[in-house]
């Protein structure tokens, strides 16, 4: 970790527009929970909360926040040329990468986990037999994996945002609903498996498609692999002076 790069990255990521947009996204989650609490009959709290946290939290908020933060953490600097100022320094490329990943993950964790926890507490009218804790831990875990994945993506392509969005919407959103096999490569499914393991709720409320072991092993392997590849990529990255 390099504190100077961390502080610059933090200020870059927390630009006013991006922060407001992401807080609004989290706000929607809390708002839906609030509306349910005020208008619902309270007979099906756990089912409702689980559906909300899965479909709006893990499937939408978590990947979108990670996507926006992780692709901007280093990708936007490479794009506008400011990366030169940190790359032309006696700072190891690994330290730059780890710092960027840590700051992107940290920002994403705050913006993702707090709304999920708050919406969960409101929707379930309490801790919901570990349901809220399960989803919050799962969101934290998934956020870090997503950040590693999207940061890597931003180093290998200038279209990281589009490709990342495609992965989240098409692969995880549509295909993993149709074909069970694709779930083995879905960060959302890894998170759900963890939520399922932490929460103490019946399977009609939360039933993950992957078993915990597979999910954890896959997630850790993928996160480590993409981080390693990102480090190698950053060490070899070329910055052209003029368009050629």
């Amino acid at each position: 970790m390099n504190p100077v790069i961390a502080s610059i990255t933090l200020r870059q990521l927390l630009s006013r527009r991006r922060t407001i947009l992401l807080l609004l996204l989290g706000g929607v989650l809390v708002l839906v929970a609030l509306i349910y609490r005020l208008a619902g009959d309270g007979r099906d709290d756990l089912n409702f909360t689980s559906g909300l946290l899965d479909n709006l939290g893990l499937a939408a908020l978590m990947p979108l926040v990670a996507l926006l933060f992780a692709t901007s953490a280093l990708g936007s600097e490479l794009e506008d040329g400011t990366a030169v100022f940190i790359l032309a320094k006696p700072v190891s490329r690994w330290s730059i990468l780890v710092t960027k990943l840590a700051v992107a993950s940290g920002c994403s964790l705050v913006v993702t986990c707090i709304p999920i926890a708050v919406a969960g507490l409101i929707g379930a009218g309490g801790t919901g037999d570990g349901l809220v804790a399960g989803y919050t831990v799962a969101a934290a875990f998934g956020t870090v994996v997503y950040c590693a994945l999207f940061l890597f993506l931003s180093l290998v392509t200038g279209r990281a945002l589009i490709i990342g969005l495609g992965y989240v919407l098409i692969w995880e959103g549509v295909l993993s609903g149709l074909f069970a096999g694709t779930r083995t490569f879905s960060v959302r499914q890894y998170s759900l498996a963890l939520a399922d393991a932490v929460a103490d709720v019946p399977s009609n409320v939360l039933d993950a498609a992957l078993d915990l072991r597979t999910a954890l092993v896959m997630a850790v392997v993928i996160a480590c692999a993409v981080t390693f590849l990102a480090g190698r990529r950053l060490a070899r990255i070329e910055i052209a002076g003029e368009a050629a």
Binding site: D80, G81, V84, P90, A240, G241, E242
Partner: protein, 318 residues
Amino acid sequence: MTQGDSPAEEAGKRATVALEAASRWYGNVVAVNEVSFQLDGGITGLLGPNGAGKSTILHMIAGFLAPSSGSVTVGGHPARGHVEMYRHVGLVPEREEVYPFLTGRGFVDANARLQGMPAAEAAAAAERAIGLVELEGAQDRPIGTYSKGMRQRAKVAAALVHEPPILLLDEPFNGMDPRQRLQMMGLLRRMAAEGRTILFSSHILEEVERLADQVLVIVAGRLAASGPFRDIRRLMTDRPHTFTIRSSDDRALAAALVTEPTIGSVSVSDGQLMVGTADFGAFSRRVAGVARRSDITLHELLPTDESLESVFSYLVRR
């Protein structure tokens, strides 16, 4: 500085910056073609038209681009894959973007701390560097509010905050007004006098003429000429010149000029007399005498192409 010839390995090790038959291509496009030179102190101007490969050369020296063939070394080590090198190198990139949310002082200070200086030392170094580029008045404003010239000076301050022995500047005078330009030239001269090696690129002959001790002329990726500015200037003046002449009798004048030893070629086409000469000085002294002796009145004598591009392309063909 030597050019072209293969220097002994010993010399290569001593040289601060050395390119040995360095080429760089992107797919089928050759951006830099077998360029060799060594720099050891002083101010060197990398002169050439836009897109000639100047930035590519600077980026290879800065370790941001690998040479496709040949070698680029800084202090005897390959420039690429060697982050410790940046303790000895300051780089001013051509691209303008600087973190807009940082103040000038914050930016220069961050650069000092990224060089590994402790906070107090970094603050002092930043203050000194900002003083050197005369940016004190604006140092507490966000860079996003800076003019182009101020941003340029902030970048220069950031590049020299750790007092590197090697300074690389890509089009450093872009966006500066004449006063800032003079001030920056003075600063670079002082830094060179302290024994630093300074390499800057420019497509403007005048900037190079005023600042550089040595000049490297880059055209279409090749090192077209190198040496002290005076020699380069002489090469440019002595190149073949072509003139178009309008006179009272073009054909008679053509006949008279053909006998002149300073004239290389004479042609009359489309009613226009064109004369080529290898000796610009002698020709301009003699042409009037030839016309007078033949009783011909000269109406107009125009050099056909004096643009810098034509000078550059001559140097390449040479």
